[in-house]
């Protein structure tokens, strides 16, 4: 009798909606997902953005170029340095400033340190999302060591504001090289521990292998970039394809996997930490001598025209598009943020999985919400 009752319930009545967010620990901020469920299965996900929209693009129009740096810092705050680099490179490209090697090398080292700390934080949170609280403690313990390096050189822990158009705000601290080398030595020993904790864990395998598969074609058509796309085999590393700063003089592998599931997205990020350490090791001993900043005019005015510069942040490709009318303020600034495109694929890959898998898939995309909303 009971079975009959279930069967006779029409399909459309079995569907119901759940609001995930804006205050939900696994959305890593204030993303709101309107999840339509059938039983425990996800049928459709509708992301609602704008809960942290602070109008950065509009604000940029009333600020000068050196001031914009302080807003891009707060866009994708975990790869703050790389965001700043995008704006600075754009301004330098427009003014055709020749940047000395010292600045390029220091920027590259700082970018890679930023990438490592971003992936560490992601690893910590991803582990915590899947119920492994130990990851949180291990990941953030090691992240503090990078933040110490940042603090000594830049004065800030996370929001560094170290770049400025034409170079760097100040020279590196005398201890910088020694501390970075110490960190690499330490982290090369620690990183296998991450693998022991999570990568080989059977429960973790069950929850991540085959979950949220993204094909290469879909990754390209949705505009997915970064580690998420590279896990699907889409070669999209801006550092390789369009080298900026000092990336043309270092040897490194672009990590490419083909499965495209949650587990391979995890593996790509772990491998990227190894590659970042390789890049830093190649550069740290030969930082060239020279000035840390080029002398720029007190008021920077870009010549009329449009300028575009893209960089590879820890989450994917960040593009900065500037339209200038020749004034000290840009006429229009548009950021092509990696997280916005990565979010758009969530509905596509999480459909048909259980709601608990949605947390795993969302975690593996590594979304930063203020970067989506800007």
């Amino acid at each position: 009798m009971e079975e009959e009752a279930i069967i006779t319930t029409p399909d459309e009545l079995q569907e119901y909606f759940i609001n995930m967010g804006p205050q939900h620990p696994s959305t890593h901020g204030v993303l709101r997902l309107l999840v339509s469920l059938k039983g425990e299965m996800v049928k459709n996900i509708e992301p609602h953005v704008g809960y942290i929209h602070s109008g950065i693009e509009k604000m940029c129009e009333s600020l000068t170029y050196p001031q914009i740096i302080h807003l891009t810092d707060r866009m994708d705050y975990i790869s703050a340095h790389i965001n700043n680099e995008a704006v600075c490179l754009n301004v330098e490209k427009a003014l055709e400033v020749d940047i000395p090697d010292r600045i390029k090398v220091i920027r590259t080292i700082m970018s890679e340190l930023t990438r490592i700390q971003s992936h560490q934080l992601w690893w910590a949170c991803f582990g915590m999302d899947l119920g492994g609280l130990t990851c949180f403690f291990y990941g953030l313990r090691d992240r503090e060591k990078i933040l110490d390096i940042f603090e000594e050189t830049c004065g800030g822990r996370m929001i560094v504001s170290y770049n400025c158009p034409g170079g760097l705000m100040y020279d590196i601290h005398p201890n910088f090289q020694k501390r970075v080398k110490d960190f690499i030595k330490y982290f090369r020993k620690i990183l296998p521990e991450y693998d022991q904790l999570l990568t080989g864990n059977v429960i973790f395998h069950e929850r991540s292998k085959g979950i949220g598969k993204l094909t290469k074609e879909d990754a390209i058509s949705f505009g997915v970039t970064g580690p998420t796309a590279r896990a699907s085999g889409f070669s999209c590393d801006v550092r390789k394809h369009e080298p900026y700063s000092a990336y043309d003089r270092v040897q490194f592998k672009e990590i490419l996997l083909s499965e495209g599931d949650t587990f391979s997205r995890y593996v790509v990020r772990i491998e990227e930490m190894w590659e970042s350490m390789n890049i830093i090791e190649q550069l740290i001993d030969n930082i060239p001598e020279g000035p840390f900043a080029v002398k720029m005019k007190p008021i920077i005015k870009l010549p009329e025209g449009t300028y575009y510069q893209r960089v590879e942040t820890a989450r994917g490709e960040l593009g900065v598009f500037v339209i200038s009318d020749g004034n000290k303020n840009p006429y229009r600034v548009k950021f092509r943020s990696p997280n916005f495109s990565n979010l758009s694929v969530l509905n596509h890959i999480a459909k048909g999985f259980k709601i608990a898998d949605l947390v795993a898939i969302g975690g593996s995309l590594d979304l930063i919400i203020p970067d989506i909303d800007r």
Binding site: Q23, Y51, I52, Y77, R157
Partner: protein, 180 residues
């Protein structure tokens, strides 16, 4: 934290002296002692300050030493909401609802420049709430952009001191004075 480590003990004494009642003082002391040593924060973060809040809970800074380690995902189980980050107009009703859902006694810490005044988004931004006290009453302000974990810890210790001085009467008066 030791008494002599704070600079402003006179105002604490003044607060202690005003509005106290011989019968209720001892009960208040016991209740306040319990409340201040088990402050459970709500997992609520909007921007960079949230990462520093996580760092405060991490091994280096370790919230747990002061009884604050239990981050609650549900507002009904939380005692204190640390507003970590920018609040925009779309988020403000949600924040108010979260605050309303918390059970008494509840406290608010405004962490970072955005929550205090709008911070870097104070000028020229059309969507940012210029200070979280427009939405909910704030007990402690922690300045910084973002504040270091040590700063947040100091702010939370100040909140503990604030709780120490509270009586049933002053709690009621505080709630009555905030018509949000």
């Amino acid at each position: 934290m030791k008494r002599e480590e704070f600079g402003d003990n006179e105002s604490l004494d003044l607060l202690n002296a005003s509005g106290t009642n011989i019968l209720l003082t001892t009960i208040d002391d016991v209740i306040n002692w319990g409340r201040k040593n088990s402050l459970w924060p709500l997992t609520f973060a909007t921007r960079c300050c949230g990462i520093e809040m996580m760092a405060s809970g991490a091994p280096r800074h370790d919230f747990a030493r002061f009884g604050m380690e239990v981050y609650r995902a549900s507002p009904r189980q939380a005692d204190v909401i640390v507003v970590a980050g920018t609040i925009v107009h779309k988020m403000a009703p949600v924040l108010k609802r979260l605050y309303d859902e918390m059970s008494e006694p509840k406290y608010v810490v405004a962490m970072g420049a955005c929550a205090i005044s709008g911070g870097p988004f104070f000028l020229n931004s059309y969507s940012v709430v210029k200070g979280v006290e427009h939405v909910i009453p704030v007990d402690v302000y922690v300045p910084g952009c973002p504040p270091r974990p040590e700063a947040l810890l100091y702010g939370m210790l100040q909140l503990q001191r604030l709780i120490e001085t509270q009586t049933i009467k002053s709690r009621k008066e505080r709630n009555a004075s905030h018509n949000y």
